[in-house]
Subunit: 540 residues, 2 copies
Amino acid sequence: MGALRLPALTSIFTSSSSATAARYSPLLPHRSPRFRRLSSANLSAQSTDQKPRVQDKDKDRVITPRSQDFNAWYLDVIANAELADYGPVRGTMVIRPYGYSIWEAIQDYLNVKFKETGHSNMYFPQFIPYSFIEKEASHVEGFSPELALVTIGGGKELEEKLVVRPTSETIVNHMFTQWIHSYRDLPLMINQWANVTRWEMRTKPFIRTLEFLWQEGHTAHATADEAEKEAMQMIDVYTKFAYEQAAIPVIAGRKSRMETFAGASKTYTIEAMMGDKKALQAGTSHNLGQNFSRAFGTQFTDENGLRQHVWQTSWAISTRFVGGIIMTHGDDAGLLLPPWLAPIQVIIIPIWKKDNEKTGVLSTASSVKEILQAAGVKVKIDDSEQKTPGWKFNFYEMKGVPLRIEIGPRDVSSGSVVISRRDVPGKQGKVFGISMEPSTLVPYIKNKLTEVHSSLLERAVLFRDSNIVDVCSYNELKEAISQGKWARGPWSASDSEELKVKEETGATIRCFPFEQPEGPKKCLMTGISADEVAIFAKSY
Amino acid sequence: MGALRLPALTSIFTSSSSATAARYSPLLPHRSPRFRRLSSANLSAQSTDQKPRVQDKDKDRVITPRSQDFNAWYLDVIANAELADYGPVRGTMVIRPYGYSIWEAIQDYLNVKFKETGHSNMYFPQFIPYSFIEKEASHVEGFSPELALVTIGGGKELEEKLVVRPTSETIVNHMFTQWIHSYRDLPLMINQWANVTRWEMRTKPFIRTLEFLWQEGHTAHATADEAEKEAMQMIDVYTKFAYEQAAIPVIAGRKSRMETFAGASKTYTIEAMMGDKKALQAGTSHNLGQNFSRAFGTQFTDENGLRQHVWQTSWAISTRFVGGIIMTHGDDAGLLLPPWLAPIQVIIIPIWKKDNEKTGVLSTASSVKEILQAAGVKVKIDDSEQKTPGWKFNFYEMKGVPLRIEIGPRDVSSGSVVISRRDVPGKQGKVFGISMEPSTLVPYIKNKLTEVHSSLLERAVLFRDSNIVDVCSYNELKEAISQGKWARGPWSASDSEELKVKEETGATIRCFPFEQPEGPKKCLMTGISADEVAIFAKSY
């Protein structure tokens, strides 16, 4: 629970030097003295104390610099941007509207892709008889330490404890067994959007929480080959989503046997490099083989009249991905959202000094808003009068809004606007005099959003590639890991040697990437020939 | 659990006479001898028995006639149309893809309305400390018999039991207390889509299940007046939804004090009359007053610098509404879906006999499909060759698809199609020779869908109004209720007299309708003057 208990934060309140550094950092050009900061100290404490706390919301605070304390920065961003807060039960999280709307954007995209690839949504109950979990041997071993159990219902002790779903393979198989009879019922391809519970001891908002939201796909097929194709198809959907929507250059590959999902034959994964160079497993797709169908007797009659066990897959992406977005793109100024997932893609800030300027500026701002909205751009206008334009600049930069449009009296008379990019600070990211004619403005904004996306992706690829070291020996691996980097090297050693690497370096095999270098390879640990390189890294 | 345990069903298997009646009913004109029936006997039994059951799926079965046994008919429809199945834990339900897609249509509509009226989606944890539930006196009284409690987490006994949310007012207020400081933070208007758990003893698919899905809106306001306006606004959103999307002519009104939500000052409700004339509470909106804000200390500083408790509302619609749709519109042939919520609005059945006809029919069918799809119509084509057209006619009627398009070789050459309405059986609902030119077909189909909607609504209004009896005395009330009808009459009597009505007749006050007759009224029970009429009915 260390992370959720608000570790010592180096912020303006505990370390004036860091705050000074942040305040005058060239990366924070608009940091105004009236900047309001909702620091991680404001993430509500996890107590049930009901006394209303008077909070100093309007004090001048800044976000802990990312380079100084990545974890404190992460918590600061979550608090400042109002993405999430702690729930009253240790390890739980409240997802606030701005954070939830990023999740909604993820859902909107994936939901369409799942349906396009032939899956239907449905819903399974979250209470699973305890005996179900015990049916698949490695599944129970993997999940039993993390279970939340309902033992009392309607005022009575239950005869059988109920597991609050940590994942749904067991209950899905119980139902599949009743729905699948012949090969004509296959493939059966479904998905559910749901909450799941895992009793984690070390939690961190979005990344690892006691309860989280996810989608879990479950499919059953007549052949091993079809299941394998499905598992690969879905990791491919996730990979494209990461690159094309989130601008996160994940590395897709296969998990080592030791890191394979409890109950799966093979696990495919997308691994992302966070800003602190730690790896984040951002999505997985499992080829379950016949493990669950044998445990649950999920059989079908094939075309020759023979009874066969089905071949299955499952695959999931969770609210953890929101944490991945924050830790991939964010900077000292706060959040930086990839345009296609940003709840607000363009923020319009009207600027006026004299009362006689106000009407013109506001009506122009609102017509610009309507032009963009009609073109499908997610646009907001902040015309509140309590805050200065400078404060607003900072606020929406901190919120990670990709583009800002400024409209002042001079812009009104010239019929043009000023556009600033969140990802390019200062004058460099600013263009003046863009006509507000719809035929000019709309394509300009859409191109800019595409540009921001490409630029975020390119930056992340550069960062990733400059922090992956090709290694040929265990010593080189240790060296790379100790520098906080990822190590990539040939691997064909045993599980116990994999465990040794983990114990000695803290790094695990993140995956055997699908993209492999050509030519013969020798295992970095044993020197024996190896078929594949593996990527080792410390991870979340 | 009676309902979920599959009560004695009067179907073809237990009563040959009823089956015969159904088979030859004029309402089932296309009932073919090969009609496949997935009867309620096929709703998977609630046991953890894993033995694969060989099911007789292709036997000729029919749905229990609605007039004969409403409950058996309801369960048959749910099983046959594959809307839901029982989960392994008593009282839980698996929502299958066809049933879930009705829920998704409900979500799609309401989600837009909630956002248009200024609400943001977010997510609260489902685990609530037990002590929270105890804070609001009537709330704990209302909910404590229905709670599911987590007592073990991560292998350890928990210090404080956790409630699996039955509703979220308590945890919402705990968080609101931390987020709300001044009048500037108000109104705070949020919604969440979530699962909730209530340990019900008598369950029935969709209508009352141990776990269900819903949306729950929660708002906080600076004044009592604003909260009242919000509660009224949301019951109005629900009312419009029921009429305009679901074709259900609900009666909106205020609950009696005895029927008010545990913790609310006022509860507004929409009450629907099901096909068996029982009432279904289909949605509620609560004015919570300051009950929860006082219990949780949710205060704000007003414009004069004074600390005040916020005024709140909450409102919800759940998967129960899907049950309401089934029981409002369904008939002996099965489900009948209102067009705007139907997962498939138009089913295309290609018909051919000779192989040389097949290509032309299929390509025409698929171009008709594309024309409609492009126009935003939810259309499906069933070109499977295992079943006859007659079988398909029955199958999609049973699934409640509002319109059917038939395309045969003669239609291909004439460039026209045959269109049948689900709600008007036989020749009366059939039109021939509708051109497949997009400029003709698209508006024709859209008009037909609108017509089906209006006709369903009109039929439901007639049914409702012919089954509400205006009563002036308790005897008249008893008479109406004993006939299975609703009784409407002036009421100003006491809680204990209301309870007496419930005990003696089984009917409760469903609501004091917003629409009230003019003129002076005298309480049907006491003869004393009354301000309002109330509606009494037996209910689900």
